[in-house]
Every structure is written in C-alpha cells, then in structure tokens.
Amino acid sequence: MFESCSYLFLQQYWWVIVSVLAALFIFLTFVQGGQTLFSALSKNEEEKSMLVNSTGRKWEFTFTTLVTFGGAMFAAFPKFYSTSFGGAYWVWIAILFCFIIQAVSYEFRKKPGNFLGSKTYETFLYINGSLGVFLVGVAVGTFFTGSAFRLNEMNQVEWLNNTRGLEAVFNFQNVALGLAVFSLARVLGSLYFINNIDDDVIYHRSKKQLIYNTIIFLIFFLTFLIQLMLKDGFAYDKGGIVTIEPHKYFHNLLEMPLVLIIFLAGVLLVIAGIGISIFGKNKKGIWLSGSGTVLTVFALFLLAGFNHTSFYPSTADLQSSLTIENSSSSKYTLTAMSYVSLFVPFVLLYIYFAWKAIDKKKINREEMSDSEHKY
C-alpha cells in the first residue's frame, strides 16, 4: 500500500503526523495550564485536592504525547532531531527538566515522608506549567524565526551561538508565541476544570480566570500572527536551494486554501468554546476550544513545513536549513513507519473510551473524601 507512494508523499504524510501530534500536545497542555491555576482557584486543601486530582488523571497523556512527538521526529525527520536537540541544547534541556519534575509531583505530593514537602511538588507543577509550556512555545517559534547553525558535509551541526538555544528567548516573536501558548494552556485549563469538576465555587473562579487569560492569549497570539503574516520566510525551490521570500507565510495561507480554512475554523472554534463558557452556562467549551486548538496548531505546522517552506531555517547558512525533503528518513523507513501509523486511529479510539469511562462521573468534594487513590 505505502510502497507505491512517492517519497515526497511519505515525507508530507509524516509531516502531517508529527503536526497532529504537536497539535494534540498543545491541546493537552490544559494539564499544564491547570497546574498554574491551582492557587488561584482554591482557597483550601479540599478545593486544591479536586483541582490536582482533576489534572492528575490526565497528565500522562500530555507527557506521552510529548515523548511520542519526539520519537516520531527522530524516526521521520532525524536531521531535525540531531540539529535542533544537539544544537539548541539548553532550551531542550530546560524543557526536559520541567517535564521530569512534573512526572513525580502528582504521585509524591501528598504521600507521607515525601522528603521535599507538598509545597515543593506544587512548585514543580507550577514550573512545569509555566516555564515548560512557555519554552515549548519559544522552541516552536524558531520554526518560523530560524536559528544560527551550519551543517557540515557529514550533516553534523555547528551551532553558532554560544548560548546554545537560549538566544531564542531574546527574539520577540518567539516570546510572543511562548506567552500565547502559556496563556492558551491556562485558558484550556480553566475550561477543563469547568467541565471536569462538579463544584460551583471552582466553576465561578475558573470562569474568571478564563476571562483574564483569554485577554492575555488574544494579545500575544495576535501579535505573533500579525508578525508571522508580515515577516519574510524561508522558501526552497525544486533543487532544494533555500532563499528568503517576503511574506512567505502569508503566501502559504493563500496558496493552501485548505490550510487557511483549517486555521480559520480552528481559531473560530477556540473563540466559540471560550464564548459559550463565558457568556452562557455551557460546560463543554473545552471540547470546542480543544478541537479548535488542535486545528489551529495543525495549520500552523503545515504553514511551517508545506508549500516549499523550510520548517527549521538557518539564519546563518540558508542552505543548511531543514526542509521536510532534506531532513527525512529514507523512503524505506518512512514506508515501514507508515504501516505503524495505521494504529493511530485505534489508539485514539481506546483513549476516547478509557477517558470516557474515567470521566463518567465528575470530580466532586465527596469523591475527594472517600477516594482510595488520590493525589
């Protein structure tokens, strides 16, 4: 089946898959966003317990999606893996630290003799939800703004900035995206709590947080978007030669109408989810905004990699820039991996059923008092 596909088709297919994983990951950062709202939404231990247990039952999905995204990038676009992870060392290490400390925090927070105390684990969760998510946004920002690196004839990376990736934090557009992703995570976190916790107090406080964070999100997202539409981009021709093209990403939107539709639909859904939650009593805004997030991020990744665009540009040596064509695995590997990708719908299906089973009954104060396994 996949054997008869062209190499380019497989490269594009795998870019679509990693884009879906990235989009799902950003949606699932509602866990991280929720973690930064624990203090704002709770006034006592019981309330905090509901919040922690609410995100605590989902954190592994976010974590696993990140790990799978990494694996898929390694398998499908190994040159990105070696260039970006090896080059932008400190940014990736910082992100990893933020996720390492998350993984233990839920389980250890309330356990007797946890050595560091509950507050420390709550701080870990806050760092994961704030710095971790912000840095992910910054790292994705470099897909559009580029980094200073060069590849030699053996494709080994030479990173030309001594700060090894931290320089990305000093680029305003990267920071705008980082803050947009951070505030979006808090928006999604608020929506998730509204949906997942059956408690009036939490509901009203979440609604307030939703309003504040929506404003911040819109400011930074629009800043990033306007800059993106106005900026020059990194295009490549049929021979793989990379050049600077004015308004490349704006052109991409116009030249790929389907992507434009997905992007607009995504943005509208995000706004609709927020709208029905703020202006009505509907508690299902997370599903609209969540789907919208997936579509929007998916479209942004297609903008970054499709239509002859370099998805990981080098500002120091244009010809070292990575494209989905020059950074992918061999045709054989992409073909073999494509068969594995057929399992993805099955995976999504069982996640859906398991999630539904666990969320059948919303979290409430009563459950917190008699639950045997709680965080």
């Binding site: 799978t68 053996m154 080994q156 073999a336 991996m337 990708s341 089973a357």
Partner: protein, 513 residues
C-alpha cells in the same frame, strides 16, 4: 583521527548517559515485573471473588504507582538525550534507530498511560472485567515499550538490516524485520524482561518478609511470597536460558566484549569458563597469567560460546594484534581500511559536488570495499577496541553469580512458604530482605556488561562514541551531568522514603489482612 575530538566532552557525555540510564534502570525492572504480578493477583481476585486478593492487589498497586512515576520521570531524558548529547549519532543512525522509539510511543506508551488511569482510578467507575483488562494492558504496554527500546539497543550492538548511504552520510534501513527479529534483539529482550521479573519478585519477597518479621499483614505476606516465588523461579530459570543465548551471540558478534567478560587476554582452544577469580592490577595482553587466582570450568567457555568444547576463543591479543593462523585481522589493519573508507567517502562527496562522476564512482568503489571498517578509521590506537576489562569482568561475574543464587533462593522460599515454615525464622527473613539490593546489583551489572563491554563503539564497528557526541562545550555537559545527578538523587531519596512509609502503613493503615 580522534585527535581533534574533545575527550573530556566524550567522557562527560558518556558519564551523563550512564548516570541517567542507571537511575532509570532502578525503577524499570519493578514496573515490568510488578505489573504482571499485580495483573495475576487481580485475576485471582476476579476469578475467586475473594476480597483479600483485592486488598493484596491494591496494596502492591500502590507501591507500583510510586515506582512508576519516578520511572517515567527518569525515562523521558533518555529518549531526548540521543538528540541533545549524541546528535551525530542521531543523524548517522536516525533512519534505523528512530523507528523503534516512535513505535514505542505509538504502540506501547499510550497503551500504558491510558489504562494506568483506569487501573488506579477506575475501581468504582468501571466493571471488574474492564478493570482487570486495563491492568493486563498496563503490563503488556510496559513490556511492549521495553521490547522496542531493547530492539534499538540490540541494533547498536549488532547492526543489521541496513546499509550506509554515502550520499546522505548515514546508515539507512533495508529490512525492518531483520532489525526487529535479529537474534541479538530477541535474546536481549527475553533476557532483560525476565531478569526484571526476578527483581520484582525479590521486591515482593523482601517487603513480605519484613511483614512476617513484624508479624503484620500475615496473610498478604504469605500469599505474596508464594506468588512471587513461583513467578521469580520461572523467570530466573528463563534468565539462565536466555543468558546462555545472549553470551553465545556476544561470542559471535562482539568477541572483544566476550574476551573482556572472561578476562581472556590470550586466546585458546578449549577455553574454560571462570566461575570466580581476581584479576591482577597490571593485567595485559602480553602476560601469560593475569589472575591472582581463579576457579574455572574446563572447556566451558568454548562450549558456551561456540558450541564445541575444543573451539578456539580469541583473546584480547588476537583481536588487537591479529592472528594469521586463526584468520583474525588485526585492529591496526582494520584501522587502515577504515581510514581508506573515510577518505574515499570525503573524495566521493567532493567529486559529486564538482560533478566529476567518473572520479566519484571510483572513490565510491574504494569506499564500498572498505566501508565495513569505517568506524575503525576514527580510532588512534589498536588497543582502544578493548573495553575496560576489570569493570566488564567483575560486572559479568557478579551478574551470573547472583543469578544462580536467585534460582536457589526462589526454590527455598517456595518450599518454605508452601509448607508454611517461614513464620518466626528471623534470621532467614532478614536474609531474604537483603536479596532485594542484590537483585538491583545484578540487574545494573547486566547493563554495565552490555554497555561498558561494547566500548569504544556507539554502534558496533561503525561508529565510536567519540564521533557520536554532539559538538558542545564539555562544561555544558558537565553542568547538566551535575544537575541530573542532584535532581535524580533527590528524587530517588524521596521515592525510597515514600516507599518505606507506604510499606510501613500497609494495605489498611496497619490493620491485619
């Protein structure tokens, strides 16, 4: 060739990977083994409907949860470390190595993370059968994830199903099934997971022995010991069987590792297998006797390694200096060929760029003729193909010795627990508790043999570790090494303290089950 490589960087990169892998491996064996034993316990509960088995299941599940969290925490760095610290490696083999990691994520991690939520939080929310299925899926998911990472590791020890592509300067996959089903991969997977089951069984026996000593949770302790002893005994026997298969594969594919494992400096026919011994501090390949003392089983190494009692087992001297009589090429000769491969590859790329096709073809032919030795071309010294002998030798013998001891231990605990004779045997119960650290030592030793034993290679014969690292300042890696060391140590202390507390609290706040 390695002169321009910062050896401090290589050492720190290796140290960091070793540190993070060793820490991660403290938790993985328990996850792999406990998940199955918990699934068996819950199956008994569902089959018999006896509430005591539900309480037993829930108790071990609680300990499993504590361990699982830190296992996940220490695991994420390993995947990304291939990119951050071994970026040249990532490009060189990403076409092959990346695939198992991606499959691990798609097929195994999601299975594990989805159903673990049901396992912990679904007791009152889903049916008994759905819950039991979830518990089994967690066990299969975690073991399936081990399969893929072990396939990837095996490929580094025995690279098959691929070809180096001079155009892209990387190895590319030719046959997925050869990678997945290579005999090294099959053996490594079975050996590693079953050895993990042994550690998990020792954990259950250790905790249960403590309860018996304290005369608490007697029913839980006794039932758990019987189950763990059966599970542990079957696993330990299988470990011995697959250990033989693994050693056989090492003999065939990594002779330098085998020589280091046995401290065999000079090759011989009908070589004996050392049961125990002590290497002299100045042991070297030009010395006849390199042991202070040793006890060996005659001809056993030849038999195990080559299935013939009089087979010739090459020693370190044969592998570095060569042995014409035995048709063994010297490392020096391989280095010459390797250098020819590297220089012809460089010429090929240069001629390709200048579009001199005939010259490019001729350079390519030279490259193809020598490409299997390419990795040797990066080495400076023939002796560098030999791993650290004392570390490999002692780790191997500690692993094997303890493995044999565990078989005996499980037999004893099974017999005594069936006869209900463990009560009141204070000395024995204290002794049983000591076996848990020994289990960890054996398990970590196994990895030390596998990884130290294959030095200097990141990928056997193709890519030395010195070339595989990311080009970055050594102080950056030293800094992250320290950060990881501090963070993981703190988390380990927290985990142990929590675990001990949970054991002390017991299944129902201390009341008897």
């Amino acid at each position: 060739m390695i002169a321009d490589i910062d050896l401090a960087l290589v050492d720190w990169s290796r140290a960091q990977f070793a540190l993070t892998a060793i820490y991660h491996w403290f938790f993985v064996p328990l996850t792999l083994g406990l998940s199955f034993m918990i699934a068996i316990m819950e199956t008994i509960y569902v089959q018999t409907g006896k509430e005591e088995w539900k309480r037993i299941t829930k108790f071990w599940m609680k300990l499993f949860g504590v361990n699982f969290a830190i296992g996940v925490s220490t695991g994420i760095i390993l995947e990304f470390e291939f990119g951050t610290n071994w970026s040249n490696y990532s490009w060189f083999v990403g076409d092959i190595f990346g695939a198992p990691l991606a499959i691990e994520g798609i097929l195994a991690f999601f299975l594990e993370s989805t159903f673990i939520a049901v396992m912990f939080f679904g007791w009152k929310k889903v049916s008994k059968k759905f819950h039991l299925t979830s518990t089994w899926l967690v066990a299969f998911g975690s073991n399936l994830s081990a399969l893929w990472i072990l396939v990837a590791n095996s490929w580094m020890q025995y690279p098959v199903g691929m070809q180096f592509n001079p155009e892209t300067a990387r190895s590319e996959m030719l046959n997925f099934w050869e990678v997945l089903l290579s005999p090294v991969a099959v053996n490594k997977f079975l050996h590693t997971i079953t050895s993990s089951y042994v550690v998990a069984a020792l954990f259950i026996i250790c905790v249960s022995s403590w309860y018996l000593l304290k005369k608490r949770e007697l029913m839980l302790a006794k039932k758990s010991i019987i189950l763990a002893s059966v599970f542990g005994l079957l696993s330990a026997l299988f470990v011995a069987f697959t250990g033989d298969g693994s050693a056989y594969m090492v003999a065939q594919k990594q002779p330098a590792k085998l020589a280091a494992m046995e401290g065999l400096y000079q090759g011989k026919e009908g070589a004996g297998l050392i049961v125990f011994g002590a290497l002299k501090s100045g042991a070297n390949k030009n010395q006849e006797d390199n042991f202070h003392f040793k006890m060996e089983v005659p001809k056993m190494l030849s038999l195990l390694g080559y299935r013939k009692t009089d087979a010739y087992v090459p020693g370190i001297k044969d592998l570095t200096d060569g042995n014409v009589e035995r048709n063994i090429m010297s490392a020096g000769e391989k280095m010459e060929k390797g250098r020819l491969a590297i220089s012809s590859l460089s010429s090929f790329k240069k001629f390709k760029k200048s579009k001199e096709e005939i010259k490019a073809d001729s350079a390519l032919q030279v490259f193809r003729a020598n490409s299997q030795y390419m990795g040797y071309g990066y080495l400076n010294d023939p002796d560098s193909i030999i791993p650290n002998v004392p570390i490999t030798f002692y780790s191997f013998h500690i692993m094997v010795g303890l493995g044999a001891l565990f078989i005996l231990l499980f037999m004893v605990t099974l017999y005594l627990s069936i006869k209900d004779k463990l009560d009141g045997k204070k000395f024995l119960l204290k002794l049983l508790m000591l076996f848990l650290p020994l289990g960890f030592i054996a398990s970590e030793s196994g990895w030390i043999v596998a990884e130290v034993g294959r030095q200097p290679w990141a990928i056997q014969d193709l890519l030395p570790v010195a070339v595989a690292t990311t080009h970055i300042d050594a102080t950056a890696v030293m800094t992250t090494f320290i950060l990881f060391a501090v963070l993981f140590t703190v988390l380990l202390i927290a985990e142990i303290k929590i675990m001990l507390n949970q054991i002390k609290i017991g299944p129902k706040g201390g009341e008897n089950v």
